[in-house]
């Protein structure tokens, strides 16, 4: 189990226990509410992860680093940002991949742009996000994160 999982489970179980001691009925109501919104999200989640799984099978680290090399220039930056924006990876996968990309010849700005967008810009979530909030809200959040990635690339270009 990851650190993340241990923290969240201890927190959830402790609070549930405290809640149960304080008020049994309220706790059961809360659990029911939580389960309900989980069941609502699940049908969206599973096909989405299937889709991401396929993407990640095709877009392998070797493939990505071949696109993001030292000579790839602006095109490499654009490709890094695009691949990052479409796919989603948890940080425990993304960071080691970033290292692997750098070691196999990826350039810093290209890889940095990929790393930022792969975590913060989630175009695969776009439909779900629009449904929860609105299309405008989904565009806005992704656009701000994308701008953040560009800022990171610019700083990395100056520093490295």
């Amino acid at each position: 189990m990851s650190i993340e999982a241990i923290i969240i489970y201890s927190l959830a179980l402790t609070l549930t226990l405290v809640s149960f001691i304080l008020d049994k009925e309220k706790t059961l109501k809360g659990i029911k509410k939580g389960a309900k919104s989980f069941r609502k999200l699940l049908p969206t989640l599973i096909p989405l992860f299937l889709f991401v799984g396929i993407l990640l099978a095709v877009i392998t680290p070797a493939f990505i680093s071949s696109l993001l090399g030292e000579e790839s220039g602006l095109l490499g930056i654009i490709l890094g940002l695009s691949i990052g924006s479409i796919t989603f990876m948890p940080p425990f996968v993304a960071y080691p991949l970033g290292v692997e990309l750098l070691e196999s010849g990826g350039a810093y700005p290209q890889v940095a742009g990929f790393l930022v967008t792969v975590m913060s810009v989630g175009l695969v979530y776009f439909a779900a996000e629009s449904k929860y909030f609105s299309k405008k809200a989904a565009i806005y959040r992704n656009a701000i994160s994308f701008l953040g990635a560009i800022l990171v690339i610019l700083i990395v270009m100056v520093v490295y």
Binding site: E4, A12, L15, K40, F49, V52, A57, S120
Partner: protein
Amino acid sequence: MKTIIKNNKFLFLSIFLLILISFIDLSLTYQALTNAGNQILSMLIIVPPIFLLIGLFDVWVPRETIIKLMGEHSGIQGMALAFLLGGFSAGPTIAAFPIAMIMLKKGAKYSNVLFFLMVWSSLKLPILFYQVTTIGLSLSVIINTAMVFIFILGAVIADKVFTKEEKQAFERKAQNIE
């Protein structure tokens, strides 16, 4: 039929792609299914306790409290709280959407909720150490400071970009979600 496809576009697209890559290389199909299985498994591990917390939050925390802490007049304190909640996140961004909805339902300001979502997506405090040990200190510092800066800016500007009606529409959606 059309609506079934429209509502399950990722499912149909995935099945189509799976068939397509099977013709190219069967090991790709196997890799894709393993990837998907692993991701779904790790999600099924991390997401249920989040929803348990959402449920408890809903029954225990009164609306007045959230309005005071993260509402229209919560100022910097509201943003700081959004930052902490987002930073101590676990799980994919999509798991943060229902959390954001419950915040809106309890009267949190939209720009604070948006800030929470953005922080959740890319600034994960519990694994800061992991981040530094993998991609290095300087790259971590650049990414984290640049993103905090742009997220604060994004949240402040959002307050002007979204009209009062749009913000009210978010809140109405949040009220009706259950």
